[in-house]
Symmetry: C2
């Protein structure tokens, strides 16, 4: 069966401020040395499996131009515009409706647009395995990541180690972000995987799941499905999409289905959750620094330094994140990157929208 893909690119995270902005979220940034943006790498990564013409991007009107600019080879009609943010369930539902209408039933791969993967070949192999499972019995497949430490910032997937199918395992339940104690238990149990937000299923399967689990959403999706390719398409989406509840695919659909499998991925996944990710995705120099651009360091160690045009001179520094942009400079202790959102709150309260 033909493979298709939906890449979700509507997010607007704040954790890469000041480089990420309201009008330039993380998926459109280049953080690796090859100069490619995260969404460009995401597309490139699945090309061994999916034809360019079968890759769909779901985003919103603010980012339509960015998507078209960064991904000129994606057919314009494959760029789907959510009129309003409604979390992943409606996003995926509409994507499935489009793909099903255009290609008939196909094996649909759903991917976030702002993650990084180190071992592309292993990733492709995992997706191939996932497709195999998805093609049988109306299975829904989610790609899990074997946890390497007790992370409290991710959701977890609990699987049954004794109920396997091909290379996958039956999912028992999804667990929300745990506290540190619980996270440690999850990791040491060897029955939990990190929830990466990557899914594989047939479009017919996921639409069936909507029909049974969220029938109201399904009805809306079918109205959209019928309007695709007609002159009413845009109007119908603008009318129907906002009616959908804001809910994730995990809690809205997956958790309520009983044919869910997970495949433990082991392909160097990184959700690039904060500036600290730079140390995982880039090589540090002999002083432990990642220094990009016009930088001089003296007695400076283990810092992440992103210069822009200006010279950045660092003296006697340890464990800082320094990011310079045209109009704002961040200087942040590595232990405090979560507080970047406080800066953004401050800017919002003070109506300094030029920095958001």
């Amino acid at each position: 069966m033909k493979k298709t893909a939906l890449i979700m690119a509507g997010g607007h995270g704040e954790r890469f401020w000041p480089r990420s902005r309201k009008n330039l979220p993380k998926q459109f940034l280049s953080l690796t040395e090859d100069g490619k943006t995260l969404i460009q790498l995401t597309v490139e990564r699945i090309l061994p499996l999916v034809d360019m013409k079968d890759i769909y991007i779901s985003t919103n009107k603010d980012y339509l131009d960015l998507v078209a600019e960064q991904l000129p080879d994606i057919p314009k009609e494959n760029i789907l515009c959510e009129p309003i943010g409604r979390n992943t369930a409606p996003c995926i539902g509409m994507g499935a409706a489009y793909i099903h209408k255009r290609s008939g039933d196909s094996c649909m791969i759903v991917l976030p647009s702002d993650h990084l993967i180190k071992y592309n070949q292993m990733f492709v192999t995992t997706l191939e395995d996932a497709c195999e499972i998805a093609l049988e019995n109306g299975n829904l497949v989610t790609i899990g990541i074997a946890p390497t430490y007790a992370e409290t910032g991710y959701g977890y997937i609990r699987f049954n180690p004794s109920e396997s199918y091909k290379r996958g395992y039956k999912v028992l339940n999804f667990a929300e972000k745990p506290n540190i104690e619980l996270a440690k238990q999850y990791v040491s149990s060897n029955e939990y995987l990190w929830n990466s937000g990557m899914f594989v299923w047939k479009t017919s399967t996921i639409l069936d799941a909507f029909q049974h689990i969220m029938p109201d959403v399904y009805d809306g999706l079918m109205i959209i499905h019928d309007a695709i390719g007609t002159s009413a398409e845009e109007d119908v989406i603008r009318r129907e999409f906002p009616k959908f509840p804001s809910i994730s695919i995990d809690y809205g659909v997956m958790e309520k289905s009983d044919k869910i499998y997970t495949l433990p991925g082991n392909f160097g996944w990184d959700d690039v959750g904060s500036w600290l990710a730079m140390e995982r995705i880039r090589q540090t120099n002999e002083f432990g620094n990642i220094a990009d651009g016009n930088v001089i360091t003296i007695n400076t160690n283990n810092c992440i330094i992103q210069a822009n045009q200006k010279l950045i001179a660092c003296i006697g520094l340890e464990d800082l994140v320094i990011v310079d942009t045209e109009d704002a400079t961040l200087i942040c202790d590595k232990t405090s990157t979560n507080d970047i959102k406080k800066v953004i709150e401050n800017l919002k309260v003070c109506n300094r929208n030029e920095y958001l």
Copy 2:
């Protein structure tokens, strides 16, 4: 006797980089909240004692325009240009020659242009006392500063506590920058003052001292003296001045004279030796920060932050100096401000003159 002043403004320190540059040294920077530059404050401070027309500025050709711009009320002919840097003895000698030629014998006050003084009235009173001593017996007077701690970055003046004249004390010798042990001994002995580089004497006295102690320099100064006001003035200076040895007035003249007095000044003197001086000359906020301009701080304490146009967002920082300028940003641990010179060396070696 009329009071005159020579303000020495030829220095080109590097310790306020990136705000101070080769073409904008510290004396021309504003570091206080009133927005006035250090040299402007120096002139203002002595106006109760010296007429504007009797204030002379010694500088070099690179800074002639800056002096004229920042001190428009100083007569153009009072701005003296050293063709080459030769330390303080030749600078002061030439200043004395000018002042003596123009005003006849006068009580000459010599001041650095890049220090700050907190209590102006006490400063004026001290200078008045110094003038009184200088008018008698051909005394040379140097203003000392009662040390408040064992500073190793200053020279010291040793005085004889039992040989006082008016409010001054006889100077025994000048001591170079001591190591920390010696500095502690100096301070606890109560017989040492910091050498502030401020002097008072009659022009006739200092010229006599040159005649006896540095007769070759004296001869050159007299050639200059005779040329002042003639069409040969510039040529003569350009020819004679570079012949002078590069030596400070302390070691060249003062130390070899036996009629030196020092007056302990207690007027909140600060040599503004590094960015750390900001904490002495400015009020810190409730978090111990001095934050100027477009700055947001989150959990940031005891930092000196000088923004320029850009927003500077500081998160989780302690004890840093952050200085932003149009083309360079310094981020420096407070204990490392001495290493600013390493950045400058690096820039010199790499021929990046635009940042010097």
